[in-house]
C-alpha cells in the first residue's frame, strides 16, 4: 500500500547536482520552551559538509551537540521546540518539510547511530525484524530478499553467525555486537549522511576502537558523509576531516582537524585539550582544570558564553559576544576577542593573574580549579568565586 507512495517520494527526491555540498546548515537555532524560560540548546550554528567527508562535533554536556544532530534530522518532539534557520540536504530545504517527506529521507538518505546500543534497539523485537523492517520500508523488495540483504549486512559489520543472530533479541548480545547491529541498520539503505551520536561512549576502550574502525571502514566503502558527535577529543582526532567545538549551543571554533589541534585559537578548545589527562605525561602531572562548570543554557552569561570560566577574559568579553572570526587558514573560524596565541592574550592572562582571578590560575595549573563550584544557583562567578577559592586553596 505504502509502496506506491514511496515510489512517488523517490521521484520527488531526484538526485541533486553533485557539486553542491551534501548538507548546508545556516544559522540554525533550536530553542526549547521550559518551565524556567527558553533553553537555547542550539544557538545559531552554520556549517556545510561535503559528500564523503567527516565532521566531528565536540562538546561537553549542555553544549547542544546532541540537539544539533537531532535538529538536523528533524527528530525533535514537536511540542515546545522551535527550530529556525535553514538546513539544506542536497540543496533541498529540510526545515518545514512534511512528515512524509522526512520519512523518505530518514533511513534512506540520512541515518543515525545512537549512543547507547542497549536502549536504541527495540528490546522486544528480533534483530532480523529490526533490520528488514527498514529495508522493506525504503526499498521495493520481497521479504526473502530483505532477509538475505540483512544477512549480508550483518556479515559486513563483522557479526559472526549472522544467520543465528537474526533470530535473537538485542539483550542476548554484547554491547559491541549491539552497536554493530545499529550500524548495520543505519547503513542498510545506503544513506549519504550518517550521524553517529556518541557511538562509543557506552562501550569499553577495546570495543570502542573496533567500532570506530568499523564506522570509518563503512564510511569509506560507501562514500558516506559522517557527523561524529562526541565529548572525547581523542575519538575525533584521528578520524575526522574537520572539527567543530561547541559550547553553550554555539560553535566556538571550527577548523580542519589538524589545524584545530595545531593552531587552536579559542580558549575553550585550549582548556579542553589541556584538562584531559595524557597517557604520555608522567603520573601525578597536575591537570589544568577549567574552573566552574558548563553553562546554563536557559540563563547564559552575557557576552562570550565562556567568559566566566576563561582565564583571558576582559571587560569586553563579559559584555559583548564575539562573532565567528575567520583566520588565515581556510575553514578555520573561532569566536573570541582575545584568541589564544596572540600578544593580547598573554597580556590578558598576566593582568587577570595579577588581579587574582581564579580561573586564570586554574588553567595555568596553579589554582585548584574550584572556581564557581560553591554556587548552586549559577551566575556571576567572577565576583563570587574569588573568595571561595581563597578558602579552598588555604
Amino acid at each position: 500500500m505504502s509502496r506506491r507512495r514511496r515510489a512517488v517520494g523517490v521521484e520527488r527526491f531526484e538526485p541533486a547536482p553533485l557539486d553542491a555540498p551534501l548538507l548546508e546548515v545556516e544559522d540554525l537555532h533550536t530553542h526549547f520552551r521550559t518551565g524556567r524560560g527558553v533553553a537555547r540548546a542550539v544557538d545559531g550554528v552554520s556549517f556545510s559538509l561535503e559528500r564523503g567527508r567527516t565532521l566531528g562535533v565536540v562538546g561537553e554536556s549542555g553544549s547542544g551537540k546532541t540537539v544539533l544532530a537531532r535538529s538536523i534530522m528533524g527528530l525533535l518532539p514537536k511540542s515546545n521546540v522551535e527550530r529556525t534557520g535553514s538546513i539544506k540536504f542536497e540543496g533541498r530545504e529540510v526545515i518545514g518539510a512534511t512528515p512524509d517527506d522526512l520519512r523518505e529521507l530518514w533511513g534512506s538518505q540520512i541515518s543515525m547511530v545512537f549512543q547507547d546500543p542497549m536502549t536504541s534497539l527495540n528490546p522486544v523485537m528480533k534483530i532480523g525484524k529490526q533490520i528488514t523492517e527498514m529495508l522493506l520500508q525504503h526499498l521495493d523488495i520481497s521479504k526473502d530478499y530483505a532477509r538475505e540483504l540483512a544477512l549480508s549486512l550483518l556479515e559486513s559489520v563483522g557479526i559472526p553467525e549472522a544467520d543465528r543472530r537474526l533470530k535473537e533479541y538485542p539483550h542476548q548480545m554484547s554491547g559491541g555486537m549491539r552497536q554493530r547491529i545499529m550500524i548495520a541498520i543505519a547503513i542498510a539503505c545506503g544513506p549519504k549522511l550518517l550521524f553517529a551520536d556518541e557511538p562509543t561512549t557506552a562501550l569499553d576502550v577495546t570495543v570502542q576502537a573496533q567500532i570506530l574502525d568499523l564506522l570509518q571502514a563503512q564510511q569509506r566503502e560507501r562514500f558516506m558523509a559522517m557527523i561524529l558527535v562526541t565529548h572525547d577529543l581523542g575519538v575525533v582526532a584521528g578520524r575526522t576531516d574537520e572539527i567543530a567545538v561547541m559550547y553553550a549551543g554555539r560553535v566556538v571554533e571550527k577548523a580542519p582537524t589538524k589545524v584545530l589541534f595545531s593552531e587552536l585559537r579559542h580558549p575553550y578548545t585550549e582548556a579542553l585539550l589541556r584538562s584531559i589527562p595524557k597517557l604520555g605525561a608522567p603520573s601525578h602531572t597536575r591537570l589544568a582544570a577549567i574552573g566552574g562548570r558548563p553553562p546554563d543554557i536557559v540563563n547564559p552569561p552575557a557576552g562570550c558564553k565562556f567568559s566566566p570560566r576563561c582565564p583571558y577574559a576582559r571587560e569586553r568579553c563579559l559584555e559583548e559576544e564575539p562573532p565567528l572570526i575567520d583566520t588565515a587558514t581556510p575553514g578555520h573560524e573561532f569566536r573570541c576577542w582575545i584568541p589564544v596565541g596572540t600578544p593580547e592574550n598573554r597580556e590578558a592572562l598576566e593582568a587577570n593573574r595579577a588581579a587574582g582571578a581564579p580561573s586564570a590560575l586554574a588553567v595555568v595549573g596553579e589554582g585548584n580549579g574550584m572556581g564557581t563550584a560553591a554556587a548552586p544557583s549559577a551566575p556571576t562567578p567572577h565576583t563570587r568565586s574569588g573568595s571561595i577559592d581563597t578558602k579552598g586553596g588555604a
Binding site: 561537553e60 554536556s61 559486513s156 563483522g158 554484547s174 554491547g175 555486537m177 554493530r180 569499553d204 576502550v205 577495546t206 576502537a209 573496533q210 570506530l212 574502525d213 568499523l214 571502514a217 563503512q218 566503502e221 565529548h231 572525547d232 577529543l233 581523542g234 582526532a237 584521528g238 578520524r239 582537524t257 589538524k258 584545530l260 589541534f261 582548556a271 579542553l272 584538562s275 584531559i276 589527562p277 595524557k278 597517557l279 608522567p282 603520573s283 601525578h284 602531572t285 597536575r286 591537570l287 582544570a289 577549567i290 562548570r293 558548563p294 585548584n368 580549579g369 574550584m370 572556581g371 563550584a373 560553591a374 554556587a375 548552586p376 544557583s377 571561595i388 577559592d389 578558602k391 579552598g392
Partner: protein
C-alpha cells in the same frame, strides 16, 4: 592473564591494606549459575599510596572495591586492613571499621540521598559515630565542605538535586573525608563527569590526599586518568589480576598483552597519531559465568598458545617491581604485531 598468585604483594607490615586471594561470586537469578566476578585477586596498598585498579567493564574492579569494604561479602580470601581481617568480622565489629574505610561512588547524583540536606549528608558519619559534640560536628562539616570548594553557608541547607554532577562529587568527597578515614576507595569517581569537571575532581582528590594523609584505591576504566593519579597500577581482566607495576613503567613497557592492547586502543587527542592500524585485541570480554580455562585472556590474546588454555599463569616479577601474570610476557620494545585485519573482523577472537 588470568593470573593468580601473590608474588606482587609486599611485606604485610608495610602495607595498610592487604587483599589476598579474594573471590567473589554471585548467583545468576535462580538459574543455579554463578557469575565469577572476582577470582583470586590479591592487591595491597601502602599508607599514603594510591593504587589504581583499571580494567574494562565486567572485569570485577568495582566488585573488588565493594568486597574490600565488605559491602559484598567475599566467597574466599582475606582482606587485612589495619591488622584486622575484615572477612572474619561480623556485625558490630565490622561496623566499627567503617569510619576508617570510606568510599566514593561513580554516580554523584545517585550516591546522595535526594531527600536530605547537604549538611546532614556530610554529617552522617559523624552522627553515626558520635564524633565530637554538636558544635564540633558542625565545625567539621563546615571545614570539609570548604576544603572541597563548596560554600557551607549557601550549600548546607540545600538538597543534592540543586547541584551539578561535579559539585555532587565534591560533596561525596567531603562526606568521605569527614570521619578522617585512612583509606578511601574511589569507584569510578570521574567517569560520569564532563572532561572539564573531571580534571577539577582529580586535582581535588590529590589535594585531599595530601591534606588528610589519605590512602586511595582508585578504580577506573580510563587508563590515562588512572595513570595520572596512581603510584601503583593493577590491571584487571575478567576477575583476575593481569599486571601490577608503577604507572610510568607500566605504561611505557606493558608486559601483559592485554595491557598493551588496552594502551593501543585508547584514542589519543592528537591528529598526527593515526589510530592504531589495528587494535591489539579483537572480540569482547567473555561472560564471567563461564570464564575461559587457563589464562582468561587467551581467547582474545594474539600471543596465546595451547599452554595458555591449560595452565593458568602465576604472577611473577619480570622486571624490578613489575609483576605480570602471563606465560609469554612482552619484552621491552615489543609491539603487538599481527596481520592487518579487514573491516569488521574484530569480532573473531579465534586467531
Amino acid at each position: 592473564m588470568a593470573g593468580h598468585g601473590t608474588a606482587h604483594l609486599r611485606p604485610a607490615d608495610e602495607v595498610l591494606l592487604r587483599v589476598e586471594s579474594l573471590v567473589v561470586e554471585f548467583p545468576v537469578g535462580r538459574t543455579g549459575l554463578t557469575v565469577h566476578a572476582v577470582s583470586d585477586v590479591s592487591i595491597d596498598v601502602k599508607p599514603g599510596e594510591t593504587l589504581g585498579l583499571v580494567g574494562e567493564s565486567g572485569c570485577g574492579k568495582s566488585t573488588t572495591g565493594r568486597a574490600v569494604m565488605q559491602l559484598v561479602r567475599p566467597k574466599g580470601g582475606s582482606v587485612t586492613f589495619d591488622g584486622h581481617d575484615l572477612t572474619q568480622l561480623k556485625g558490630e565489629e565490622l561496623r566499627e571499621t567503617r569510619p576508617k574505610l570510606q568510599m566514593i561512588f561513580q554516580d554523584p547524583i545517585s550516591s546522595l540521598n535526594p531527600r536530605r540536606r547537604i549538611r546532614d549528608i556530610v554529617r552522617e558519619g559523624l552522627d553515626i559515630w558520635k564524633i565530637g559534640d554538636d558544635a564540633a560536628r558542625n565545625a567539621k562539616v563546615t571545614e570539609v565542605l570548604e576544603t572541597v570548594g563548596i560554600d557551607p553557608e549557601a550549600a548546607g541547607p540545600r538538597r543534592p538535586h540543586e547541584f551539578s554532577g561535579g559539585q555532587c562529587q565534591r560533596i561525596s568527597i567531603a562526606r568521605a573525608v569527614a570521619t578522617e578515614p585512612k583509606l578511601i576507595i574511589c569507584d569510578e569517581p570521574v567517569s560520569a563527569l564532563d572532561v572539564s569537571v573531571q580534571a577539577q575532581i582529580l586535582n581535588l582528590l590529590q589535594e585531599m590526599k595530601q591534606r588528610y594523609g589519605l590512602t586511595l584505591i582508585f578504580i577506573a576504566h580510563d587508563l590515562a586518568v588512572v595513570k595520572n593519579v596512581s603510584d601503583r597500577v593493577a590491571v584487571m581482566y575478567l576477575g583476575k589480576i593481569c599486571e601490577v607495576s608503577g604507572p610510568d613503567e607500566l605504561y611505557a613497557q606493558p608486559a601483559h598483552p592485554y595491557t598493551a592492547a588496552l594502551l593501543l586502543a585508547i584514542p589519543v587527542p592528537d591528529p598526527t597519531v593515526r589510530p592504531a592500524e589495528r587494535s591489539g585485541v579483537g572480540g569482547e570480554i567473555p561472560s564471567p559465568v563461564a570464564p575461559p580455562s587457563g589464562c582468561r585472556f587467551r581467547t582474545r590474546c594474539l600471543k596465546a598458545t595451547d599452554r595458555c588454555a591449560q595452565e593458568e599463569p602465576e604472577i611473577r616479577e619480570v622486571r624490578p617491581d613489575h609483576f605480570v601474570a602471563c606465560h609469554f610476557p612482552m619484552e621491552p620494545g615489543e609491539t603487538l604485531a599481527a596481520p592487518a585485519p579487514t573491516a569488521g573482523n574484530g569480532s573473531h577472537p579465534d586467531i
